[in-house]
């Protein structure tokens, strides 16, 4: 243990094993000629394509436009630090994720091949959002909730994102985008003013509405 070379080689070898196994190996493409790598099948997976009588389903699809911009808003505001985006399998926690109505199946690596950055999340201070786009929450609910979470969910501890909304004087007709406040929030708003979502808010909601990792039943998600 008095030779620097021993420490160096030892540190190198012990570390290399995990570096190779956990980082490099999964990076290599699954569709290479080496069959061993297909077993690791995480990187460069192909989307699932199903043709049922002329109706072609390709899943997942990369985000674009408003939803893609909204993803950046989600990323920059650290939403991931309270909300996860992964559904655990049936044998985890009494299948609670699915029983709560968060999904109809677990998530698998293929659900995330176009997610960049991937925001699986490790905290559920707030509910999981993997499938928030298909759980019955429409755009106006999201806008009201983002404006002030406590307006839609009393007792919520989520921060309010009023800075994504604009308070402005009504000119002529009220804007069709204006969100409808209720309760004390409505009372606090002066007459002749309306709350309108900014482009960022609309993008973020578009992103949330695009979250669907359950409608397409992937074969590998069945247990």
């Amino acid at each position: 243990m008095d030779r620097g070379m021993v420490i160096f080689l030892g540190a190198l070898l012990t570390f290399t094993s995990s570096w190779l196994g956990l980082v490099l190996l999964p990076l290599l493409p699954a569709n290479s000629t080496y069959p061993v790598l297909s077993a690791l099948r995480v990187q460069y997976q192909e989307p699932f394509i199903e043709d049922q009588g002329g109706v072609v389903t390709s899943y997942p699809r990369p985000l674009s436009g408003s939803a893609l911009r909204g993803k950046a808003i989600y990323q920059q505001n650290g939403c991931m630090y309270c909300h996860s985006q992964q559904i655990r399998p049936e044998n985890f926690g009494n299948n609670a994720d699915i029983k709560r109505g968060w999904a109809t199946r677990r998530t698998v690596p293929r659900d995330y091949i176009y997610d960049k950055p991937i925001m699986l999340g490790t905290m559920r201070t707030g509910p999981d959002l993997a499938n928030i786009g298909v759980r019955g929450y429409y755009a106006d609910w999201h806008h009201k909730h983002l404006y002030d979470p406590r307006m839609m969910v009393p007792g919520s501890v989520m921060p309010r994102f009023r800075f994504l909304y604009e308070k402005r004087k009504i000119v002529g007709e009220p804007s069709i985008d204006a969100i409808e406040l209720t309760g004390k929030w409505k009372a606090d708003l002066e007459a002749g003013y309306e709350i309108v979502p900014t482009g960022d808010a609309k993008d973020l909601v578009a992103y949330l509405l695009s979250q669907d990792r359950t409608t397409v039943a992937l074969p590998e998600a069945r247990e």
Binding site: M1, L13, S17, P35
Partner: protein
């Protein structure tokens, strides 16, 4: 378990989840081979170190942090408001 149920468990067709594919086998082979390789390297390194005499009088190395000025048996840290006497 009753005899018929036990035998049934043995002969019941296995579900797909239990059958190992060739891919799984290759992964396990790679893992096992790595453990043999890296573990073997470690064992060899240890054997070399023993033969090289690095473990003779090994405990001596634990004393290298002491010297005549800060020898074994002497405390080298105290609160600034505790006087030096009476340890």
């Amino acid at each position: 378990m009753s005899a018929p149920r036990f035998l049934g468990a043995l002969t019941r067709p296995r579900s797909k989840a239990l059958r190992m594919t060739i891919d799984d086998f290759i992964v396990y082979a790679v893992l096992f081979g790595s453990v043999v390789f890296f573990g073997g390297a470690a064992v060899l390194a240890l054997a070399w170190a023993v033969r090289d005499g690095q473990f003779q009088n090994f405990e001596r190395s634990s004393r290298t942090i002491f010297d005549p000025h800060e020898p074994v048996g002497q405390l080298t840290d105290r609160f600034p408001d505790i006087r030096r006497d009476g340890e």
